[in-house]
């Protein structure tokens, strides 16, 4: 596999992981608000 293509795929995987972590942070935040009956 050409190097630039591998880098591109690795970068994509890292962005996906960052997205999942961010989504988890948002989920925890919103769920905490729900548990506290704020929303």
């Amino acid at each position: 596999m050409p190097l630039h293509e591998e880098h591109k795929k690795r970068a994509g995987r890292n962005y996906a992981l960052a997205g999942i972590l961010l989504a988890l942070v948002v989920l925890f935040f919103v769920a905490t608000l729900a548990k506290l009956s704020v929303i």
Binding site: M1, E6, R10, R13, A16, L27, A31, A34, K35
Partner: protein, 304 residues
């Protein structure tokens, strides 16, 4: 040109880096869709209210937990999968991913789903989710699948638990009503998988998996399918008899069950692959239909 590298137990492609599609395939998305659907209905049927955000979190955890179990199943069975036509194109046997990556991915997802369920939903649901994942991976995949033709009968329990987990997300406990839903999926599993094993018998034989047609023959499998379908139809009426599913569900269970029985009886007489495939595909439709009517009727009853 494709380059390959041989690890301890299988060959991986060096010219390929697994992408999102490969990781998604590890989660057995088709199985996951059925798990999500039955869990959603379990949640709808449970008495009491749940905040939509917590409900979403519970379903997400169940889906991710089911995916993790599927992933760990593919990690453990990579060698068997390589010997079967139906599973040879999965990420590990096709060389698109190494086993270690799948193991790490599966363990991470399983841990995260149980942890988030415990922190954001409740501890009972988290414990049930953990039990389900362990049951599928340890009891079914590692212990039973390669040892006994009763593998899918006992192992099928893990696929039956999701509605009960979703139910407990609402109520915080396990009730007889939620166990009736477990019973329905549990009794549905043998006719579903055995009808598939009738037309995938060569595959299972090649992989050395002791499925019922391989061990006891196709005639015995057809006989067992009839017996388990009869039991399944009886169990499918429980939600109606117990009073937590409505009359529309009762009528659907009777009609759908009768059609299922007619199909398996024609499979018993005809002994052909075409009828086995018909039973297999009908079984999927049957379970979706029963749960859809049960959940739909309950929702309509709550609104009006």
């Amino acid at each position: 040109m494709q380059t390959v590298a041989t690890t301890i137990d299988h060959t991986i492609r060096e010219d390929y880096l697994p992408g999102a599609g490969d990781f998604f395939a590890l989660l057995k998305p088709r199985v996951m869709s059925l798990v999500i659907f039955t869990a959603l209905v379990g949640m709808v049927m449970a008495p009491g209210d749940i905040h939509p955000v917590i409900a979403f979190t519970a379903i997400l955890c169940i889906a991710v937990g089911a995916g993790a179990a599927g992933c760990l199943n593919m990690w453990y069975e990579a060698d068997l999968d390589a010997r079967m036509k139906r599973t040879a194109r999965r990420p590990i046997p096709s060389g698109r991913m190494d086993r270690q990556t799948a193991l790490h991915f599966g363990v991470a997802l399983a841990s995260a789903s149980v942890l988030v369920m415990g922190l954001l939903v409740n501890l009972v649901s988290a414990a049930l989710l953990l039990m389900t994942i362990l049951f599928y991976v340890v009891v079914y995949t590692i212990w039973l699948k390669q040892r006994t033709p009763m593998n899918i009968v006992i192992g099928g329990a893990s696929g039956a638990f999701p509605p009960m987990i979703a139910w407990s997300a609402v109520t915080g406990n396990v009730s007889l009503d939620s166990l009736a839903l477990v019973g329905l999926v549990f009794m549905w599993t043998p006719p579903h998988f055995w009808s598939m094993s009738l037309f995938s018998c060569k595959d299972y034989k090649a992989a050395g998996i002791p499925m019922l047609p391989v061990v006891s023959g196709e005639n015995e499998t057809r006989r067992q399918i009839v017996i388990y379908t009869l039991l399944m139809v009886a169990v499918s009426l429980l939600p109606w008899f117990m009073g937590f599913a409505g009359p529309l569900y009762g009528i659907t269970a009777i009609l759908g069950g009768s059609l299922f029985l007619w199909l398996v009886l024609s499979l018993f007489r005809n002994k052909d692959i075409k009828t086995a495939k018909r039973v297999f595909f009908f079984s999927i439709f049957y379970l979706f239909m029963l749960f859809a009517v049960m959940g739909g009727e309950n929702l309509i009853g709550r609104i009006f």
